[in-house]
Symmetry: C2
């Protein structure tokens, strides 16, 4: 699992759409699709239901989403605090 995967996941969960998430993150669509799939494999359970109109969060996805947001915030807080301590 990588922080990029977590960021991709949060964007897709919020946009409910891989293409929009990709544009928001300034990356192409296929990398996002692949990373989401890889994340699901690593976690051992699907996070989204694929529909012709986008991606619907599954229960496991909702659980992961809450934690994922916390992780990203924690990384940002750690970065800021360390920069502040270092200068």
């Amino acid at each position: 699992m990588s922080l990029a995967q977590i960021r991709y996941f949060v964007a897709v969960a919020e946009e409910r759409n891989v293409g929009r998430a990709a544009r928001r993150l300034h990356v192409a669509q296929p990398p996002i699709s692949r990373q989401i799939r890889s994340l699901e494999e690593e976690l051992g359970s699907p996070l989204f239901r694929r529909t012709p109109r986008g991606m619907d969060l599954l229960p496991a996805g909702e659980v992961f989403l809450e934690h994922a947001r916390g992780i990203l915030v924690a990384v940002e807080v750690a970065t800021d605090a360390t920069r502040r301590a270092g200068s």
Copy 2:
């Protein structure tokens, strides 16, 4: 910043020694050194003082260490909770 870098950092901080951290993580020593350096550059401040006998945590490093441990725990918790929700 990657989760691997955070794991490397925590190991080095705890061992106060790059070589021991490398053995503990089952990777070679130079990759650890490089990732630590890259992390310091990204954070904008040194985290360790290099000595002929090992690595001493600087104040910025101590700050980052506390946050880093929390991030790794959060990743583990997120993983477990999601696995549990998915099965």
